[in-house]
Amino acid sequence: MSLLVIGVGNRDRGDDGAGREVARRLREQGVVGARVTECRGDAAELLEALSGADRVIVVDAALSGAHPGTVLRIEAHQEPLPQALRSASSHGWGVAEAVELARALGRLPQSVVVYAIEGPCFHPGPDLSPAVRQAVERVTRRVRQEIERTPGPRRAGADVA
């Protein structure tokens, strides 16, 4: 069973880079049993990525008004993503749209888990807010645990896309 982790966001827009940072850390630490990739958030690109594995974990930033650093875990194969997550992408076409389009086209993988990290600051620049940096650490740990729990063949070394 193939497992793919996708970190979504823009590294040049503050906390929008949270998902990408999780992916970067996972790769840096080395991951066995999953591919780890990064993506800017274009829905067509994400849709393509979603079709590429049986199980997918997406990590994205969110701007829903929740407390900075709040982490939501949503099993998107079972329920639509909340409306609040649809505005985080400046391209108006992000993770939620890609997931819903995949669902409508019958292309949704067996499992899609979305981690959304609430970020207060999306201004230009590479820095994450302190609360988001802590959340990134927590999410990196939790995603690693999920990878370890996922059944399937274990490959040696990170398969870096």
Binding site: R40, D42, E48, H91, W93, E97, L105, H123, P124
Partner: protein, 433 residues
């Protein structure tokens, strides 16, 4: 508020299906448009400042990050400008390979806009997602075509988003013949898809609307323009790329973070598919010209709503051109030309999917960037978008507010505005007083 009242206000807080963030304000008094302001509120990009002090060779990769949709365009304008500054001339195979890379970007960018962002306007859906139950074929077709464009960019550019294989003087690594040939079958399928797409969008109904634009695009002696050519316009402009700033100036509009470009002494002008097509119809492939005619287009198109058809025709052209370039491909003997660093200034203009993209760099003797200037297509079209709305709104006053708002948004999307590149966009406010 009804259409018969003398005062009307329509407000849209976030215009969807454009790349970036921004707002539009339209004020009406007694059926007359008194004010149109395209407001751009995304913080300005500091790329021009960021480039100062960096080495010339970093500019293609830094500027590629300005846009996730058209990074190739930024890389292409950057390398042409820097090569002009350093007196570098690339060989014919390298030039052809760059054109092939650009074809890939045109395909992915145009297909995304035509089918996923603009078609919902014509078919009456909120988004591509809502189109799926009744237009699944169109959505599937577009996704497959876009994937082919992505794969072409990934193969020549090194990866899909923000290609890393482009450098001043050529490429880091050139693809093998065999790898490119492997794309032929899928490109042939995409060509069939593009023909269907042209016919399909050609059958949409279009508002009766024409504008007296001054079209501006590159023109090349024998090619439909992408990487090279002279700056030409429908009112007689014919200038070298290095003279760009003699003819075009940027003005700061108080309501917008983005600078607005105007033609000196003439004002607004129009760049992008409509301009390219209308100034270069004779340079299109025969297949693309035939498809255009069958879809009801003449050699010049002044109805911006029909830009969706022109984009589809350009998609077909880019696919045919990619097939031609792959058929003739011979890997360059040297992936990159020799680059000798010295002080200098260079200018580059290429045709991004959304239109003319200008770069200028000034280098010191060590190749460090002293000054950079980047003028993206959406900044150049800003005035044209406002002018269209000034003309369109009075013609559409009989529409109820929600329909009028829809029409305005559709008119803005005619430009496939990339507001993150131009710095920026969209909220829509319509005030009728």
């Amino acid at each position: 508020m009804s259409a018969s009242d003398s005062r009307r206000t329509i407000r849209v807080d976030a215009l969807a299906r454009v790349e970036g963030e921004g707002a539009l304000l339209v004020r009406l008094r007694d059926g007359r448009v008194t004010d149109v302001q395209l407001r751009i509120y995304e913080p300005p990009r500091f790329f021009e400042a960021l480039l100062r002090g960096r080495l010339y060779s970093e500019a293609p990769d830094i500027t590629a990050r300005i846009c996730g949709i058209c990074p190739v365009a930024y890389q292409m304008s950057a390398v042409h400008a820097l090569e002009a500054a350093l007196g570098v001339v690339v060989d014919a195979p390298t030039r052809a390979l760059r054109r092939l890379l650009y074809c890939g970007e045109w395909i992915e960018s145009h297909v995304l806009h035509v089918a996923m962002l603009h078609a919902p306007d014509f078919l009456g859906y909120e988004s591509a997602l809502h189109m799926v139950p009744e237009h699944r074929d169109l959505v599937e077709l577009a996704l497959a075509m876009k994937k082919t464009g992505n794969d072409l960019v990934a193969l020549v550019g090194g990866r899909e988003i923000h290609p890393i294989n482009v450098r001043v003087g050529g490429f880091y690594k050139v693809p093998e013949k065999r790898a490119l040939r492997a794309l032929v079958e899928r490109l042939e399928r995409a060509r069939e898809g593009a023909r269907r797409l042209v016919a399909l969008v050609g059958g949409f109904s279009f508002p009766e609307f024409e504008a007296d634009y001054e079209f501006v695009a590159l023109r090349h002696p024998d090619e439909y323009p992408m990487n090279q050519g002279r700056l030409t316009s429908s009112r007689g402009l014919d200038a070298a790329v290095s003279d760009y700033e003699e003819h075009f100036v940027e003005e700061h509009a108080p309501h917008s973070n983005a600078l607005q470009s105007i033609l000196r002494r003439r004002g607004a002008y129009h760049v992008g598919p409509l301009a390219r097509y209308s100034l270069n119809f004779d340079r299109l492939s025969e297949g693309a010209r035939d498809a255009a005619r069958s879809a009801g287009l003449g050699p010049v198109c002044r109805n911006p709503f029909r830009s969706i058809v022109v984009r589809s025709v350009e998609t077909l052209f880019a696919i045919e051109e990619a097939l031609r370039l792959i058929g003739e491909y011979e890997p360059p003997d040297h992936p990159q030309a020799r680059v000798e660093v010295h002080a200098g200034t260079g200018h580059g203009c290429t045709e991004a999917p959304r239109g003319l993209l200008y770069h200028r760099y000034q280098l010191d003797a060590n190749g460090l960037i002293l000054a950079a200037k980047i003028v993206p297509p959406t900044a150049q079209n800003q005035r044209s978008i406002e002018d269209d709305l000034r003309q369109l709104v009075p013609q559409s006053l009989d529409l109820p507010d929600d329909k009028l708002q829809w029409r305005c948004e559709q008119a803005i999307r005619n430009y496939d505005p990339c507001i993150s590149c131009a710095t920026h966009f969209l909220k829509l406010t319509l005030e009728r007083t």
